[in-house]
Chain length 334, copies 2
């Protein structure tokens, strides 16, 4: 049915070994022979069977991407970046939408059946004693929130720095009554951002004020954010500026402000994180830290490629640069 090395060898009048060499661009073959083989390949429409190749070479050209939830925009964007580089390097992308325990099962099965040579894990759960073990059999790169104490190679943004810069920016605008909406425990990035945020405020002598803070554990749930923001902004001693864990929460805050007759940014500055494409649906547009998800995906794929080809790689954590995109929701304190 499909042409094989044997067919090509017969057609070109050479041995299968020579055909293989030509297909792999071996230098140890004469120009004339190579040309004849190539002609035969062309004529027969021969394409090497990847399965057989992988079996023989005992390696795989596919890599696994493990995603907790592909419908979350940040993951999808990262995936797009990974895909871009994978295509460039000639890898095939295996993807799996799995969470928790299932991640471990799938990953182990992939490693055992030798279905893939490497994997990129988006936002793997905390407390993963099993990761180093998997990493010994399979090249692994993490691409997600930074998990402190985890020594795996990872790509992430510096959430602590985002928090610090958020505080810095609002302080520079003259704000002193600065609030926070977001979680403090649900995930590592939330924790880090809040830590950085509070430590910068503390440097200017501003200590956490419970009346200015609203915690919501579901940091990306609009309705919950709306409820919490309403509560926070209804107080007589409401903050003059709010740093929000996500754009979703920031949008909720802006909407609430509009409903309560609080002018943004004159009476209230709102700062978010994400640069969500949907952020434009609320007016005024939300000032926000953008996260380079596509770039993170590309970097992760590059690192994995280096790791798999045995080249030198940076150890530990690789940081992707965020950027403050100033829009309409922030302004100087009155």
């Amino acid at each position: 049915m499909m042409a094989t090395v044997f067919d090509v060898a017969k057609e070109a009048g050479v041995s299968i070994a020579t055909v293989s060499r030509v297909m792999n661009n071996s230098p140890r073959v004469s120009a004339a022979t190579a040309e004849a083989v190539r002609a035969a390949v062309e004529k027969l429409g021969y394409v090497p069977n990847q399965q057989a190749r992988n079996l023989r070479k005992n390696e795989s050209n596919s890599i696994l991407v493990m995603i907790p939830d592909v419908t979350k925009l940040s993951y999808a964007r990262t995936l797009a970046g990974i895909n871009e580089k994978a295509l460039e390097y000639g890898y095939t992308l295996l993807m799996n939408n799995a969470v928790g325990e299932e991640q471990e099962i799938v990953l182990n099965r992939m490693a055992e059946t030798q279905r893939c040579a490497g994997a990129i894990l988006l936002n793997v759960m905390l407390g993963d004693e099993w990761l180093p073990d998997v990493d010994s059999r399979l090249s692994l790169v993490l691409c997600s929130e930074y998990v402190s104490g985890c020594n795996m190679l990872s790509v992430s943004v510096d959430d602590r720095k985002i928090g610090r810069e958020a505080a810095d920016y609002l302080l520079k605008l003259g704000h002193r009554r600065i609030g926070y909406i977001g979680s403090c425990v649900s995930c590592s990035s939330a924790f880090e951002r809040r830590e950085g945020f509070l430590s910068r405020l503390s440097e200017d002598g501003i200590e956490p004020d419970v009346r200015l803070v609203a915690y919501t554990d579901v940091s990306t749930n609009y309705r919950e954010g709306y409820r919490v923001a309403r509560e926070l902004l209804s107080r007589p001693d409401r903050p003059g500026a709010i740093f929000c864990y996500s754009d979703i929460l920031a949008m909720a805050a802006v909407t609430v402000a509009g409903e309560l007759g609080i002018r943004v940014p004159e009476q209230l500055s709102v700062l978010g994180v994400d640069n969500n494409v949907y952020a434009e649906m609320v007016h005024p547009y939300v000032t926000s830290f953008s996260q380079p998800f596509e770039e993170m995906g590309r970097r992760a794929m590059e690192l994995l490629h280096l790791k798999m080809t045995g080249q030198t790689i940076p150890t530990g954590r690789v940081i992707a640069e965020h950027e403050l995109k100033i829009q309409e929701s922030t302004g100087p304190a009155l």
Copy 2:
């Protein structure tokens, strides 16, 4: 390194053929032997090499999902559905984020190198003469907007019906001045929805009124939708109800109405399509047709499985059911 059938055979004191039979649950092996083999498998931690298996059986257990843009929520949701079923059937998911010409190249390469046995194409471009050719070498299922005239097996919603029901719903609320925001040409679904919408209106004697219609070619771009909606709603003879191609456009219309002091739904009913999770970011919440993307993905995977295992499949088009989710943005005509 890794245990093979030979190791297991030696350990269990049987032949490799028997080991293979046990691994494949063949009935032609005695219980005692099977037990011995299983014990050896357990002891050695043997896992069959998928590559070798695929090579021998000349088939693949992986299927390709081709996506134009994984960052679009509807595609991501479909992908999640596909993933769910693929896991259930034991398929490995290959994914590729490609558009236009690149789709054809990737698809052909996949078929030629026998990397996968089947593929699900999300929203493949129009005018694809090459599809039947690929389908003859690779099982194909389309999962996307319905392309009329294309005889491939496909899963899609009935966009014409959505259009009809939209008109029907607004007419039943007593509306007569009914507008439309969306594209008429950019994609098949936009065309179909508009056709169904207009034909239903026509049945009640309402003919298209250019003053009530706003066309925007980028049917999912908020800013453009905002501009267009503003233009449409600023007219003195503005419509009393609007059917929007997408929730994004509907949200823009609702926002514009709010800014212009037009009360929704008292003075203006707005109806969208999608049931976007972000639809909740605008008040009042938008009434909308939900599309079962996850379910579509699952159905597509099921159909592909049936097709690949040579079972009988429905021919042509499979329709997934949409549903009208009534929220706050629609109400009776004054």
